[in-house]
Amino acid sequence: MSNILELHHLKKYYATQKAVDDISFDIKKGSIFGLLGPNGAGKTTLLRMITGIFFPDEGEVIFDGKRFDPLNDAVKIGYMPEERGLYKKMKIGEQVLYLAQLKGLSKSEALEKIKFWFKRLEMETWWNKKVEDLSKGMSQKLQFVTTVLHEPRLIILDEPFSGLDPVNANLIKDEIYGLSQRGSTIIFSTHRMEQVEEICDHIVLVNLGKKILDGTVADIKQQFKKNKFRVSLKEIPATIQFNGFELLEQQANTYTVKIKEGFRSNDLIRFFLDQDITIEAFNEILPSLNDIFIELVEGTTSVSRKFQPVH
């Protein structure tokens, strides 16, 4: 499967900091990709280079096999920035049409697509209202529509769920899945790790302008697993002393253990089977992305960073 996007050694330096300091990664077509990182890590700068708003100081962006051409590739990309905003006094229908035309759609194409999406998300009555008449959740929904209207190959969503109630969040999530199935690639930038775990295939974690993690969610969890297991037993065993594991926690009949080097899960199971204890549940505890994130990033975020001149 080929890549929709390849970033090669991107660099962007500002006077007081290295916002993006040599970052490279690839994004496969059709995947749902998570771009993670603490505040000030360089995510927004990276996204702006991908969308052509900023130009990198060094490095290049390869879009769909070719050198990225901001002017002509604009129509193939949809970008919903974290700074959410629309023209307040403009009528909604007009505004969506205007934005679609700016992307490069013809008027008739745009109108067709607007009708489709408005119907799908039950926004038909909004056409003549002004943006300032909408509630926050409604305007988020509207902004989402303007981002995906032209069925772009690459959709970039920066904190798409912020401010949405669970119902609307779910609606957007379903739309994201649908778009992905229809062949669009989605880049998701967020702090909400539980959503990342749920939705993304592949993630990249950046901090202080550098890439820290790059892999599928499953692989990364494997990478950081601590060999922790949870086992629920029917009876209390005679002994739980075993040199193959370390008991971490016990709650009634459920034991959380850490299996030591050289031993594996089967050894743990055999230990209990040998005592003729009925095993009711047994599973590996993989670290949550949240935990991994905190572990990697704690103490290094921009909150604790000093401003230093760039050499």
């Binding site: 708003i53 629309l86 934005l99 700016l102």
Partner: protein, 443 residues
């Protein structure tokens, strides 16, 4: 190019479709016109008819006195100061002039007018003029100069006629009309630059305030967005301007009714001396017909052509500067005001130079002002009104135009660089030094 037009169209339509657009476009000039008309009317309109008694004890007036427009002079006999005072109190007269028996016609004593109420300055001037005309006549007659002789001395038929080396003789009224045309067109451009310049600035701030800047910039280049806004708002200005011209032509039908009276009133009023000269020149040369003839002496196609050029050039130059400022500020209107100041200064400076250039189109200051791109749109209009080559030589005009074009290309280029950085930057207000850095940094 297409995207610039898209943006321009949106800017244009969003302003023109507002209900308030037609309202302000039509109402505003009507209000201003009405305002000025009222001011002029009140300032020149005399008070009520004044009834002034003249007690001529020295008998210098020979028993005759003629009243002027709204001043009734009445000769009275056998009155004293006291009886006249009583007459004032009973409102028989509004005031009196007591010429004592000892008064000498050719002497240096001045007369006094006592009135029941304070008399305003305009009316005093009128009384001065009226009465002193009478006295002057009497004095000349006592020197045995007849009225006919008097008139022939004062005949203006031998006035010096002015002509330039190019050979054409022109009337004084042409100078007067040039003055007015130059003044008005210069002032018009001044107003246009201010109004539409700040409209561009506010328009540019709109993307930042609604936080839609990033979304738009992901679809169009910052330069396209900036030019789209400048073009769109310029188009709005053009439409408003055309509506105003139509209105003014309509109001012109009312003007001749007011004008002749105005000129008479203005004569003798303490208004700007230069304006008086112009008005005097026009009046002495026969009023409206002369004006019409002078208008034909003025090269209107040239003036209109230049006006359009300088209006466009000046707008492009200044609106890009205003756009640069608008992109740098962050929603706080006070920041916008303070950054706006350095840009508005050359415009005001231009008006100052213009007031000199209308009178002396070939002075050093006028020449400089008409060539320097930041001031030329306003100053050159003042010079052009005098025509070529009287007011400005052809090569100067061409040089000025070339410089203006170079000027607005330079400011647009500069503004685009500031705009592209400023529009995405939130947070602290940048200093001029920072903005300069954005401008020179390579993209």
């Amino acid at each position: 190019m297409n995207k610039i037009l898209l943006v321009a169209r949106r800017e244009f339509l969003s302003r023109v479709q507002k209900k308030t657009f037609l309202l302000t476009t039509i109402l505003l000039p009507l209000l201003i016109f009405g305002f000025y008309a009222l001011i002029i009317y009140f300032s020149v309109k005399s008070g009520d008819n004044l009834h002034i008694a003249v007690a001529d004890e020295a008998n210098i007036l020979d028993g005759t006195i003629h009243s002027k427009e709204d001043m009734n002079f009445e000769l009275v006999k056998n009155q004293t100061a006291e009886t006249l005072n009583t007459a004032l109190e009973t409102k028989k007269y509004d005031g009196y002039i007591f010429i004592p028996a000892t008064y000498e016609l050719m002497g240096k004593d001045s007369l006094q007018l006592k009135s029941s109420k304070a008399i305003g300055i305009m009316t005093r001037e009128k009384i001065q003029k009226s009465f002193n005309d009478i006295l002057e006549e009497k004095r000349l007659l006592s020197l045995h100069i007849s009225k006919a002789q008097l008139d022939s001395i004062q005949n203006n038929a031998n006035r010096i006629k002015f002509a330039t080396v190019s050979g054409k003789t022109d009337d004084d009224s042409k100078a007067g009309v040039s003055y007015i045309v130059g003044y008005i067109s210069g002032f018009l451009i001044y107003i246009i630059l201010f109004i539409y310049g700040s409209m561009v600035m506010r328009g540019v701030m709109e993307e930042k305030v609604s936080r839609i800047a990033e979304v738009i910039i992901s679809s169009v280049k910052p330069f396209q967005l900036m030019m789209g806004k400048i073009t769109g708002i310029g188009a709005v200005g053009l439409v408003q301007f055309i509506i105003w011209i139509v209105l003014v032509f309509g109001l012109q039908l009312l003007l001749p009714l007011i004008f002749p009276d105005l000129l008479n009133q203005m004569h003798g009023q303490p208004i700007q001396p230069a304006g008086i000269q112009a008005a005097q020149a026009i009046k002495d040369n026969g009023g409206m017909t002369e004006i019409m003839r002078s208008f034909s002496q003025i090269n209107f196609p040239l003036i209109i052509g230049c006006f359009i050029f300088y209006f466009l050039g000046g707008y492009l130059l200044y609106s890009s500067l205003f756009a640069a400022v608008g992109s740098a500020v962050n929603e706080d209107p006070q920041d916008a005001q303070s950054l706006m100041l350095p840009i508005t200064m050359p415009i005001i400076f231009a008006i100052v130079i213009m007031t000199k250039a209308v009178n002396e189109p070939n002075s050093g200051l006028a020449i400089f002002g008409s060539l320097f791109p930041l001031t030329s749109p306003i100053v050159m209009m003042a010079r052009i009104a005098h025509g070529i080559p009287d007011g400005v030589s052809l090569w100067e005009l061409i040089l000025s135009m070339v410089l203006l074009i170079a000027g607005f290309i330079a400011t647009t280029w500069l503004a685009a660089k500031i705009y592209r950085t400023g529009i995405l930057m939130y947070g602290k207000k940048p200093t001029w030094k920072e903005m300069w850095k954005w401008a020179v940094r390579k993209s």
